[in-house]
Every structure is written in C-alpha cells, then in structure tokens.
Amino acid sequence: MPSFQSDDQRYAPTLPKRRQELLKWNGWGYKDSKFILNKDNHVELTGERYRLSGLTMPLLRDWMIQTLGVNLEHKSPAQPERTAADIPIPIKNEAFLLDLKKAGIPFSDDSQDRLFRAHGHTLHEIFILREGMFQRLPDLVAWPASHSDVVKVVALAAKHNVVIMPFGGGTSVSAALECPVTESRMILSLDTSQMNKILWIDEQNLTARIEAGVIGQDLERWLAEKGYCTGHEPDSIEFSSLGGWVATRASGMKKNIYGNIEDLLVHVQMVTPQGVVEKSCQVPRMSSGPDIHHFILGSEGTLGVITEVTLKIRPIPLCKKYGSIVFPDFESGVGCLREVARQRCAPASIRLMDNEQFQFGHALKPESSSYFSGIVDGIKKFYITKIKGFKPQELSVATLLFEGTNEEVAAQEKRVYEIAAKFGGLPGGEDNGQRGYMLTFVIAYLRDIGFDYHCVAESFETSVPWDRVLDLCRNVKDRLHRECKERGVQFPAFATCRVTQTYDVGACVYFYFAFNYRSMSNPVHVYEQIEACARDEILANGGSISHHHGVGKLRQRWLPRTVSEVGIGMMRAVKQYLDPQDIFANGNLIGPGQLESKL
C-alpha cells in the first residue's frame, strides 16, 4: 500500500497557505493570468499557464463590442487592493483564542487572510471586492492540519460559542461563504487547505483515503503519479477542494464514466458539535436505513467539517480523445443527446452548445496558432454551410470527450457519430471539441475583463427532464432578454446555454448571462433580480433549484418549494440534533431567520 508523507516535497500543494500571494484577491484564478487589452488593442491572455496564454484573440474584441455593446473608451476599473484600514475590526473571543493557542492550531487575524475567506465567486461578491467592502468578515482564520485538529477546534468552538465556517477552495457560487451580517459571535473561518494529503491508496479495492482539504488539480496529479485518477473534474478543478465537492454535491464533467461525487464517495468522516459521524465499513452498498452519507453530501457546511474521504479511483485511461459534432440547430443536437442517453452510450463527456455559445467560442479563437484551427474554416465551413445548408446563425455544436482503451474509444466514437448522423450532425473535428472544453476554464477569467468594461456576467445551472429541455432553454433565455429590456438595460444582453450532462431521465443545463450596465446605477441589484426571475422561470419549466452549484444563501428562497415544508422540517431536525448551538452558522440552505423561528 503506497503511502504519502506529509512533508514529502514531491507532494507540495499548488497553493500557498496565504493564497492571495498566488491568486487574485478580487477576481478569478492566478494573478499571472488575466485577459487584457494589449498594445494592439486586442484581447490577450497573460501568463504561461494555459494553452491560450500569451496568445491574442483577434475576434474577441469585436465580439465584445458587437454582442455586448462594449465601448473600449469607457472603463470601469476596480478599486485598489484593500488594506487593513478598509476592513472591519474583528470580533474577538479571548478565551477561545487562548484555548486555540494552547491546542497548537495555527491561526491568523490578518486582514488579507480574513478578506480572502470572506467570499466565494458570485457576481455579487466579486463586485463588492471591486467596488466596496463586506459588512461582515470572518474574525479569525485557523488552519487545522488533521482530522484530530478539527475535532479539537470544533470542541473549543462549542465550548466558547464561536461560529465555524468551513472553507475549502473558496470557489463557491452560491454566496455560501458570505458571513451572515447579523452574526455577533466571533466567526472562525476553518481553512482545510493544510489537510491535503492522500493518506493511502487501496489498489485491491481501487479506493483512496484523502484528506478533505486537497484541491482537485493536486489530487489528480498525485494520483496520476501512481497511475490512477478519480475522474472527478468539475470546471473549478484547479481551485476547488474535495471537502467542498462533498459539501455541495459537486458534479464532474466526466461523470458518465466516473460518476458524480455521490457515486465516487465510499466513506466520509464529518466532525460535528455532537461528535464524529461516519460509517463503520467501506462497502459498495448497504441497507442500513437512510444513508447517513446523504446528510453529509450537500450539507454546505451547516452541520460540521468534512475531514477525510475515501473515494473510488480508476486506472488512468490509455486513450483520451476529443471530438465534436456540428448540428444544423440546437433542437437536433438535443435530439441526439437524448438518443445517446436513451442508448446509454454517452462518452466521458458530451456537451451541446447553443448557437450563441458556439459563436462565442469562435470569437475566442487565437491568432496564428498551429495548435488551434477551427472546423468552420476553409473547406469545412464551405461544406457545412453551403453543401449541407447549415446556417451559421442556427447551427449548434456538441463537444465530446472519449476515454478508455483505443478499441473502446474507437467503438464509442463510431456509435455516437452514427447516432449524430440520424439527427443531421456532422463530425466537426477534435480541435473544436477541445476548444469547447477550454472555454469552460477561461470563462471565469473572461468575466473579470468584462467587469473592466461595464459588463456583469454570471453562470447558473439546473437539471431538467428530457421532455422539457428545449422549452426550458428557450424560455429562460427569452426571460433573461425580456427582463433586461424591462429593467432598462440599454444594450442587448448575452444569454446562452449548453447541455452539459446527460442522464437517463434528463439533462443538466448551464447558462451564461452577461449584460452591459453602462448608465445604470445599481447593476448588481438589477442582475440579482434578473437571475431570480430566471430561476423562477427555470422552476416553472420543471427545472431544479440547482444541479451542482448548491443552494447556499443565493437560492435558499426556492428550497422550501423544492423539497416541501416537511422536507425543510426534516433538514431542520437533523441540524437541531447535530448543532443545537448553531456553531455552523453560515446560514446556508435554511436561512438563519427560518431556522430561529422554528427551532
């Protein structure tokens, strides 16, 4: 059984303890990577980390001007980095601090450390970082190094009535990390980043025991060195943590092969104010009453701290291949995905972009790079638009990722392309597929350059039964456009969607939405109203409150309608038993108001 040493230099984590040294304090990702308007007035991605890094995207500027009505002369720069003086003074619980010191747990009340952990990445939060300040921040950050450290911290917090907000990768998009403004107790941000080790790998059973603070890219890299992977690849894989995945019911793009987090999870340990909850065995399945894992999955930090997880692992596949299919329109694409799901022959990933997103992806094409060559270039473009009669303003593209042995991949490809052909789809080449996936990783960076030019942008997602996929996509986009118009947004909004996951009974749909807010006084408020309308529309269309982003505080108003009042009561009863003092008072899922009134 291979083991990993905590001080083994080979397994040094990517991110430093003071993450703000490597990551942006007020935007997405690494400080070195940023979309800028270069000296030639073209959009360029700085740095060397990504395939697009150092390249210019000559079509993107015009896309921004034409699609969003951006005016390059009118910038909306962010405020300078916040200093200690700008940040509210922390509330101190001296007795707790003394005990924490005695216990030997490292902690900090440095203002930058606190600020970094005061937020996730919703539009609202980033806007506050760029233009204002949070009313309430964590008062202290602590870095337990192990499960037993966490047990100590939770016990001390309970003893001194201190609030704990677990913090993993900080990539939440549900306002889950925002501190409740009315909280008058000391708030401790429990940073799990120092619990990042793979404790063991069990090759007999193909499982690995992993500390919950590990971030996705480190986990996959370290497992790869042993020839394994978990196959769990959420779009935030570079920064999000294992504990966070469990706490939000995360989903990875390759779930068709590896499963979502709940399918990968074999065993989990959670420290609650009542003690540690875990199962006694790590078996494939058992009948033991309601599955306690399902109280932990999606608990969003309201019940305790997830410390250690046993996940399934798989040998790294021999063959990995991208692909794409061009469809005459979105409807035929959805038809194809539905058929693929019916035949249960989905490759590792299959996603379908609508026309707007296809065009957006096209605008991201970098200049003169041998690596990238678009499918709709030259002869192919001629073939698709002229011979096959596809309209550039209507066509839709599916991106594919195949994994397995060479033979398996070849067989999968054949079957998927055969189905596609029945829906009028033509193979569109590997590059196009790869670029489609790249879009997912750079989109968060793109939002920051949008901010610089009066554009607010956000993504949100849902899951929906097959029979309603098309209606939901159309109706939600229409609602977004209409709400923008009615709220006086001066420029046409950008609303696009893609089907990102297929299931037996339905699909996951992901929306991007952006608009130019020039000449509006309160863009974030307007944005939030519009997103709320979009969520209402989603629910009215038979969609869910969320497929994998979670509820947090952003979506809690729809939770009672989603799970019924009785369902809320069940959640409340569990919370009441595990955490009667409300130590884990981040206010997610069931709002503090709702909680108090019923407790």
Binding site: D467, R468, D471, L472, R479, R482, E537, L539, G542, R561
Partner: protein, 700 residues
C-alpha cells in the same frame, strides 16, 4: 408683408376647408378601402407579402401540423385509453383520430388566401363606405407577432367579423390567422372549402364527453399556439352576439389556448383583443326575428348568394380597433405557481382550479377591453333616445337629446365617432338616412320608428302580427341602444337604486347592497369583472358625485336632490331589463304546483317559450309597453341568472335539463326587484295561458 405671410401659410397648409379634406385619416384611424378603390385589385391580390414570423417558429405546412398532432404524446395517450376502455384496436382508434383531424384541420394555402382576399376586397367595397383601422394597433401587433405566439380575440357581432379580420391581416401583410369556426360553415359547398383553405378550422359545438375528440382538439390548437405557425383566432364570446351586447365569455377554447403557457411550453402568449364596430350591422333584422323565435337560416352557399341583395345596401363605416397585446405572463404574474405541473407529463395532467379561475378573470378582462375599444356610432345615441321615445320625437328635440347624451358618453370615457366638422343636425340626418329601414323622418320633421322590410324567412302572418312586427322593430333599435349600455350600466344601477328609494336619504352601505343585488341579477346580461363589485361601485359613485348630480351629505345620499334628468334617463335606459326579469319571476311564481305544492319542472326551452307567450299576452293587453321584452335573449339570461342565484335548480332527466323553480327564492328576488321599478298589475287571467295562443314558433 401680407404676401410673405400668405406664403408661409401656403407652404404649410394645402387645404384648410375641413369639408374638402378626405376622411381617409382621422384620429388614429386609417381607411384601408380608399386605396383599393383607386388601384388595381389584382395587383393588391398578387403582390408579394412580407409577413412577420414568430422568432422561435419552425415553418410547417398544414399537412405537417396534422402529422405532428397524429404523432403527439397526448393523442397517443388518449388513443390507448380509448382502446383500453372500448376494446377497439389502437389502429382503429387512430383511424378515428385521422377522421377527426380531416374534419377539423385547416388547409392553409396562399393561393386560396389570395382568392379569398379578392372576394373580400370586392365585397367590402360594396358593403362599406370606409373600413377604419387604428394603425398604431397594427404596428404593435406586427412586432408582437415576431416575439411571441399570438391569440386574436375579436368581438363577435356579425358574420363579417372573421372576414374583416382576415382582410385586415391580408391588407397589412400580417400572417393570416387560423380561425376556430363552428361546423355550420363546413357544410357550405364552395365557401366551406375556401374558408378552410384560408385558415378556418372546424370545431364541433359540444364534445366535452368525447375524450378522443378533446385530445385531438387540444393538441391541434396547442401545437399551433406553441409553434406560433400563425396567430390563432377565435371568439371568446363563443358565438355571435345577436344583441350587440357583449356576451359572457366562454372558457373552453381559451383554456386550451392558454394551457401551453401554464405548462411552460412557451415563454409567453400575447392576446390581442380586436373590437369591430359597425355603423350598421348586416344581420340586424335577422337577429331581431331570431330573438323573437324565428330560427336562423342554415348557413349555405346558396343562402349566401340569396343574401346578395344586401350588397346593394349601404352599411356605412366599420371601425376595427386592434387592442394593446395583453401578456398572459404579466396577467398571471404572482397569481399562479406553474411549478405544480412539474411532476407529471404535461399532456396528461389538466389545469389547476386556481389556473381555471385565473383564466375566467382573464376572459372577463378581455371582453371588458373589447367593450372599451368599441367605437360608438352617433346612431347608437339616436337609438338610445328613441328607445325612450318609442312613439317618435321631433327632430330638433332629438338633436338636442343626442348632443346631451354624447356629452354624458364622453364623460364616461366612451368614444363617439362624431365628425367634428359637421353640425349636429346634419350628423343626425345622415344617420337617419343610413338607417332608413327602421327610422323615418316625416315631412313635419318628426322622427319615428318604422320598419320597411322584414327578412325573407319571416312568414306573411308573422309580418302582419303587430306584436311581432313592433317587437322586431324595437329589438332592432335596441341592437344599437345596447351598444351604449356597457358604459352606463354601473352608474345606472346606482341611479335606479337612488330614484326608486322611498326614503329621504340612503347610506352608502344600503346603496351598495342595492347596487350589488342588481349586479348579481344581471350577471348574464352585462359584463362585470368577478370580484370587482366594490371597486366598480366606488368608481361609479365618484363619477356621479363629480358630474352626475349625486348629492351626498355625511356619507348619505340625499335622494330628492339626487334625482335629476341624468338619473331619470339612466333609470329609463335599463327599465326594460328590470321589467323583463320581473315578468320572468311572475311567470315562475304562477306555475301550478304538484301535490307537494312544488311546480312541475320544465325544460329551459319550454320555460322561455312560455314566458315569451306571457309577455305577448301582456303586450296585447297593454299591461307592459316594452316590446323588446319578448327577446329570448333577455328571458333566457334571466333564467340563467336566477339559476345561479339558487332560484331555479337544474335537474337532468333522460339527457335533458329540467328547470325546477324554488318559489321561496323566486318570490324573494321578485319582491326585491319590485323595489326598483313601478310595477304593472298583471290580471290573474293573463298568467294562465288560454287554449288559443298567438302562434309564435319559438325556437331556441
């Protein structure tokens, strides 16, 4: 200096004599016939049409629509259910579906549409002087069609309605609507085919128990609503109004059309009410005799050809007002929870109770909008005055009264089509000419009701019967007076309550009680928004205290000081209805009882025929003077209303509905009603029908 002044004037003004300016344009309206009179019809018919299309629509042929219905989940589900319950094979049931579809579906063809446009252009030019359309409404409609599926809901007072709407859409290069039509038209030889090809689809009148028909009908309507192939047009009143009053809305078709929004098939649905106002209604005399009990002639092409004689008559102008599109989403916002449809296939579950209630409100909202958009012809004012001066009136006095009434109408927000450049007398004279078939101006400048010619389906004996012919004349005049009632009904109910009060003062609460009794009683006769009684009452009180002479002191109405010309006029305007309903009560109270003292039940039809006979006897004896009370519409409405008030219970026997009056409730209502009017005394002998009756072949 004077020359430069003249120059500047001339450069701006081409014609400053109002009598020389054509009336092609007026106050937001445009006459769309004028150009047709000046240019080639052929070029108009064969020009290319740049038609707006719903942005999410997939183009489909009429045949593809049928195929899609055949393949739909809803129809499949219904076929399986029917097959299971009847033991018929699904194949056979599908054949039945195909037959229903063939009977129902339109066969939209551009060629046929052009042919119809040709026929219509020629016909319209013959029948009408001008066809006015509010251009702004057309512009809004045009942009709406691109954004959302559209439902067209015209008012319905003539067969010409749907022809006019199609002509309008053709004229403005809008996609011709598909029209839900009654089966009667289908059997017409050439016309049935032509209308089908121009977008008419045929719906059976009753099919609520036929699961298969219901499924095919629902799917056929909804697939077209969802895909927005063409605007879907139907009449929310369900049938042609024979009285020119707005009928209480029917909900079946509306439910089927709105359901796709509740089930989130579509982002929104825009409903466009269109109000069509006629200076003179084509069917005026047919309606009058129908209301007296003469059955309407069957629709047939030969009948249509026989009716050609009307082509030589003058029917004045038509005004078409295309209303503001109503967003179903906005109307329903916050009132329904569409999530309830998330847990079952959308083709199985039906609408919820709250959605159905909302659709009823919506339907009332639409018909109230239609009323508001109506254009009131000056003749409507003339008819209203004449209905209160049924023995005639000197022209000078008529002009004075009409001008007075015009002001009252405008004060309530009514839009009178009054030419600003003409004297009141010439306006009235012109109208008397146009309606010369029912009105005459004698050499002594006296205006009286006088009928020139009854329709051909009326027998000689009937024409000679004075009660019938006077009835027809008055009902025909009432057809125009009726167009004003919607505007005055609320204030009139207050006026009636005040005028008939025996006290010196009346508290607002007492007045409200009296008002709401009338509203409840006349719920089938006039349109009241359900649940808005108090708002309507408050608004009307405000109107009357501000400009109607209603005197209040400390929240009490001062009866004597509040009785004036206006309130008297209003009372008289509605007197026939109050009296008619009272007579119905008297009839019900006179019914002989069985051994338990309960009256023997009768069918609705038999009951209204019997009441009509009673009215005839009362008229013959001069007990009542309002000949329009013979109208089966008034009598039928009264029965329906009494039923909903619990005064009549319905009993179903052998598939026929029998009415059983509850004497206690009837007498209470009758007593209450008697407080509002001067009651005639009915000799007991008249209540009991004699053996020898006046032959009125009443047929409903």
């Amino acid at each position: 200096m004077s020359s430069s002044e003249e120059q500047s004037r001339n450069s701006w003004i081409i014609e400053d004599d109002p009598s020389k300016v054509s009336s092609k344009h007026k106050d937001g309206f445009e006459d769309i016939l004028e150009e047709r009179r000046r240019t080639s019809d052929l070029r108009f018919i064969f020009r290319s049409r740049d038609v707006p299309v719903y942005k999410y629509s997939h183009p489909r042929s009429a045949q593809q629509i049928k195929d899609d219905v055949l393949k739909s989940d809803r129809v499949k589900y219904a076929v399986e259910q029917v097959s299971e319950s009847t033991g018929t094979s699904t194949k056979e049931v599908y054949e039945e579906v195909q037959a229903i579809l063939d009977e129902m579906a339109h066969a939209y063809k551009l060629g046929a549409i052009r042919a119809l446009a040709m026929v219509l252009t020629k016909t319209m030019k013959r029948l009408y002087r001008r066809l006015y359309v509010n251009e702004e409404g057309i512009n809004k409609l045009r942009s709406t069609i691109k954004e959302y599926p559209v439902i067209i809901l015209p008012s319905h007072r003539s067969y010409a309605d749907f022809l006019l709407v199609s002509y309008l859409f053709y004229n403005y290069d809008l996609p011709l609507p598909v029209i839900a039509a009654a089966m009667d038209f289908m059997s017409m030889k050439f016309m049935g085919w032509l209308l089908r090809s121009a977008g008419a689809f045929y719906i059976r009148r009753t099919f609520s128990n036929d699961q298969l028909y219901w499924a095919v009908f629902t799917e056929y309507v909804q697939t077209q609503v969802c895909n927005g192939d063409a605007p879907v047009e139907f009449y929310v009143e369900g049938t042609r109004s024979r009285t020119a009053k707005t009928y209480v809305p029917k909900l079946g078709m509306l439910k089927a059309s709105l359901e796709p929004y509740f089930k989130a098939h579509i982002p929104d649905l825009m409903v466009v009410p269109i109000s069509i106002s006629y200076d003179r209604t084509l069917e005026e005399s047919l309606y009058a005799y129908e209301l007296l009990g003469v059955p309407k002639p069957k629709e047939s092409t030969s009948g249509l050809l026989k009716a050609r004689s009307i082509l030589s008559e003058d029917f004045g102008n038509v005004h078409m007002f295309v209303g503001e599109p109503i967003s179903v989403r906005q109307f329903c916002d916050g009132k329904v929870d569409r999530i309830v449809h998330s847990t079952a296939p959308r083709y199985i579950a039906s609408l919820t109770e709250s959605e159905e209630a909302l659709i009823q409100d919506f339907a009332y909202h639409v018909v109230l909008e239609q009323q508001k958009q109506m254009i009131i012809s000056p003749f409507v004012l003339i008819a209203t005055v004449l209905m209160q001066n049924r023995d005639g009136i000197p022209l000078r006095q008529l002009v004075k009264e009409v001008e007075w009434l015009k002001r009252q109408t405008a004060n309530l927000g009514g839009y009178v089509d009054w030419p600003g450049s003409e004297s009141a007398e010439s306006v009235v004279q012109h109208q008397l000419q146009l309606h010369g078939n029912i009105l005459t101006l004698t050499d002594e400048a006296f205006v009286e009701l006088r009928q020139s010619k009854p329709p051909p389906n009326v027998s000689k004996e009937m024409q000679r019967d004075i009660v019938i012919s006077t009835g027809a004349l008055q009902i025909m005049t009432a057809l125009y007076r009726n167009q004003l009632l919607y505007l005055f009904v609320r204030v009139a109910f207050i006026a009636v309550s005040v005028n008939s009060s025996l006290h010196d003062t009346l508290t607002l609460d007492e007045l409200y009680q009296r008002y709401s009794f009338l509203e409840q009683l006349f719920q089938r006769e006039f349109i009241f928004m359900p649940g808005h009684t108090r708002q309507d009452f408050d608004k009307s009180i405000l109107h009357l205290t501000h400009g109607g002479g209603l005197m209040m002191d400390d929240n009490r109405v001062l009866i004597k000081r509040s009785t004036n010309k206006y309130s008297t006029f209003l009372s008289q305007m509605f007197e026939p209805f109050l009296l008619g309903y009272w007579v119905v009560c008297q009839y019900l109270l006179s019914l002989p009882g069985d051994i338990h003292g309960k009256p023997l039940p009768k069918t609705h039809k038999a009951t209204s025929q019997d009441v009509q006979q009673l009215v005839v006897r009362l008229l013959q004896e001069g007990v009542v003077k309002h000949y329009e009370i013979q109208s089966l519409d008034i009598l039928g409405n009264a029965l329906l209303s009494l039923t909903s008030m619990g005064a009549i219970t319905k009993d179903k026997r052998n598939g026929e509905v029998y009415l059983c009056p509850n004497q206690i409730v009837v007498s209470r209502i009758s007593e209450n009603l008697g407080r509002y009017i001067d009651l005639p005394s009915i000799p007991g002998s008249l209540l009991v029908p004699e053996v020898k009756q006046v032959a009125v072949p009443a047929k409903l």
